[in-house]
Every structure is written in C-alpha cells, then in structure tokens.
C-alpha cells in the first residue's frame, strides 16, 4: 500500500503538535489502525523510521493499537465482527455486510519531552 505517504502524513501531524507544545523531542507515537484498513504494519514501521530521521520524532517508539473490524449484516439486521472486507456474516453466511468500523487510520497521541 501507500505506507510512505501515510508515514509522511503521520510525521506532519506529529511535528505540528510537537512544535505547538514546544517539545524538544517526541518519544512515542501512538496510532490507531483499523483491522480492515489494510495497512501493511511492517512497511509502515519501515517508512516511519525513514521519514522521521532528522526530525523531532527521530528514534520515537511507534505504538500501534489495532481496532477490531465490525460490520452491519443487512439480512440479520445485526452488527457482527468482521476480520476482512470479504468475510461473510458469522450468523447467516451472507456477504451483504457493510463495514461500520475497522477502517480507521488515526494518530491517537504522542509522548513528548
């Protein structure tokens, strides 16, 4: 996927906040990534390390909280767990399931000093 662009987006948000807070450095960056967002976590870590070089976030730890996928099954009229976009409803087997959460890609918080 587009992990280099995502890493650049993360750095932009992190640096803007760190500067506003007059931080000397960023020690930790915490992300929330939905299970259905299809971010390759290994690639994202690699790109994060690359783009944070010589920035306030150089050597910052990258914590990633995975948010579970949930979908709305139309035939059941129920919210059901969804681990992939192509998964069927665990109750009725239908593929008429629209994801309602698990697509998130957010910077949650940073630890600074």
């Amino acid at each position: 996927m587009h992990e280099m662009s995502l890493a650049e987006g993360i750095l932009t948000l992190v640096e803007a906040t760190a500067r506003r807070e007059q931080a000397r450095r960023v020690k930790r960056v915490t992300l929330e990534i939905g299970a259905l967002a299809s971010v390759d976590i290994g690639a994202l870590r690699f790109c994060f390390d690359a783009v944070t070089r010589a920035s306030l976030a150089e050597h910052a730890a990258l914590d990633i909280i995975t948010l579970a996928g949930r979908g709305w099954c139309l035939p059941c009229g129920l919210e059901v767990p969804l681990s992939a976009l192509a998964d069927a409803c665990p109750h009725c087997g239908s593929f008429q399931v629209q994801p309602v959460s698990g697509m998130e890609m957010r910077v949650k918080e940073i630890d600074i000093e």
Binding site: M1, H2, S5, A86, Q96, Q98, E109, I110, E113
Partner: protein
C-alpha cells in the same frame, strides 16, 4: 506495498514541470525556542486524534467544492496496469465529446504518452507524472485544476496510476471511483485487492470481446466483488468492439444529470434567498 513499488514524494511533475507544491507547513520555526529551563524536562502525553490522511482529505474537500461549483462530474478511474483504461477512456471521449464538455487528468509515474493519446481525441488533457509515487493525491489534483479548470456542466475523468492497491485510500474529491477489471485478469482479483473494490462505486469489466478465448466468468467476478462491496454496480463491455459501452455512457449521463441537478437546486436556493431580500 510502497517499500517495494518505490512509492515516494517529491518527484511529482505536471506536464513535465514541478508543481511548486512542497509541504505548506511552517518550517520557519527556530530550534532555539525548544530550549527549556534546566530541570524541567518533563515527559508529557498529548492527544492528537486526527486522521492520518487529514491533509489529503482537506485538499480533496477543496477539489470537491470546485467540482460542485462548476457542476462537474468527476470520476477517478482505477485499475491494474494494462486493463485498457486509456483505450476505454479514448473511446468514451469520442462517444461523448459532441454533446458534453470533457477534460482528462492523466496520472502515470513517467511519460506523457497517455495525455497525448487523449489530446488526439480533441479533449483537453493534463499529464501528472508522480515520479516514484504509486498514486495520485488530492494535492496534486488541486494543482492540476489550477491549469485545467473543471469543465462546466461536464465530465472530468482522472485516470489514476495503474495500481490496484495504493489509489484506494486517496480521495481526490471525485464523485466516484470506477474500477476497471479486464477479462485477461483473474476473476478473484476483487478478493485479492479488496480495498479498491470496496472503495469503487462502479466496476467495468473490460475486454469482453476476448471472453471466448479466456477462462473468465464475469458473473463470478461480480459475485466476488460484491462480497467486498454489496452495493457495487457492474457493467461488462469492450472498448474495442463497443459492446456494452452504451450502458456505461448511460451510467455517465445519469450521474452527470444528478450533479447538474444538485447544482441547480443550490443556485435556486441562493436565488430565492436573494429575491426574498428584495422589496
């Protein structure tokens, strides 16, 4: 995955020139301001709670505002390389250009071959070269719109970089993503690349003239695609022979009418508000 496909930034060119983009964030800060009094090196946690794509989404919203103001139907065409996007686009333009104002933004890593093919149809086209980048983003498209304004009451086609993965996450401000799958590919591609088929509103199954020679069941492909996107519309067609193209043109006309009607309602509301203030 961009670590292998070489995704990056800083190489973007529009018609061969740098778009003068670069990051607009303020880089004028003084590092001296980070110095603190000795002994107050406290660690703090600061909430951000923002979408990683917030910057792209803001540019996309601005593009969308421009499209709405011009009553332009904008479509983001996405597919693997070699699905026949450009051939289909050239045919579509030839069919529509007598009746509808059209424009095209072409995205490729290198070369302006596609924009030249489009210009040969008589429709204005602008080439964005992403360099190492694997997708168009809303910022690049915004710069392109400064040079090629959205066609008033017409259709703007944005042909994205041939890549069934990365462009899925990047909103350009379009009304819909249209994913093109050709019959020389596997029917299970929607399951292998679910994000793109989930993001799309319409799937065009192209190269239908080759169906007698390949093992491809369009119904199976549609069924797989609807597993990831139950609302996905689908049209099977051939840009070469023209079969099914009428259905695609009809889809475009219906969508364009929707965009125009939305703009008419907006202008009528403004007009009514203006009239009510006149005595």
């Amino acid at each position: 995955m961009c670590t292998t496909c070489g995704c990056g930034s800083g190489d973007t060119r529009i018609e061969g020139e740098a778009p003068h983009e670069h990051h607009h964030h303020d880089d004028t800060h003084d590092h001296a301001q980070h110095s603190h009094a000795p002994g107050v090196s406290e660690a703090r946690r600061v909430a951000i709670e923002e979408d990683i794509l917030a910057s792209n989404n803001a540019y996309a919203a601005e593009n969308r505002r421009r499209f709405a103001a011009a009553a332009t139907l904008t479509l983001n065409l996405v597919s693997s390389p070699g699905s026949g996007k450009t051939t289909l686009l050239a045919r579509t333009l030839a069919e529509l250009k007598a009746d509808i104002t059209l424009a095209v933004i072409e995205g490729d890593q290198e070369t302006s071959f596609d924009a030249e093919r489009i210009r040969a149809t008589g429709v204005p086209a602008l080439q964005i070269n992403t360099g190492k980048g694997c997708h168009l983003d809303a910022h690049m498209v915004g710069h392109a719109l400064d040079r090629l304004p959205p066609p008033e009451g017409g259709i703007l086609f944005i042909e994205n970089v041939g890549n069934l993965v990365c462009p899925a996450a990047f909103d350009l401000g379009e009304a819909a993503k249209v994913v093109i799958l050709s019959v020389t590919e596997g029917v299970d591609k929607p399951l292998k690349y679910p994000d793109m088929f989930h993001a799309a509103r319409l799937m065009l199954i192209n190269k239908a003239d080759l169906l007698p020679y390949v093992d491809f069941d369009p119904e199976a492909a549609i069924a797989y695609a609807r597993r990831v996107n139950p609302d996905l519309q689908a049209i099977t067609l051939s840009a070469t022979t023209g079969e099914g193209v009428a259905d695609w043109l009809e889809w475009l006309q219906v969508r364009l009418a929707g965009v125009k009607n939305a703009r008419i309602r907006e202008l009528e509301t403004q007009l009514a508000a203006l009239k009510s203030g006149v005595r």
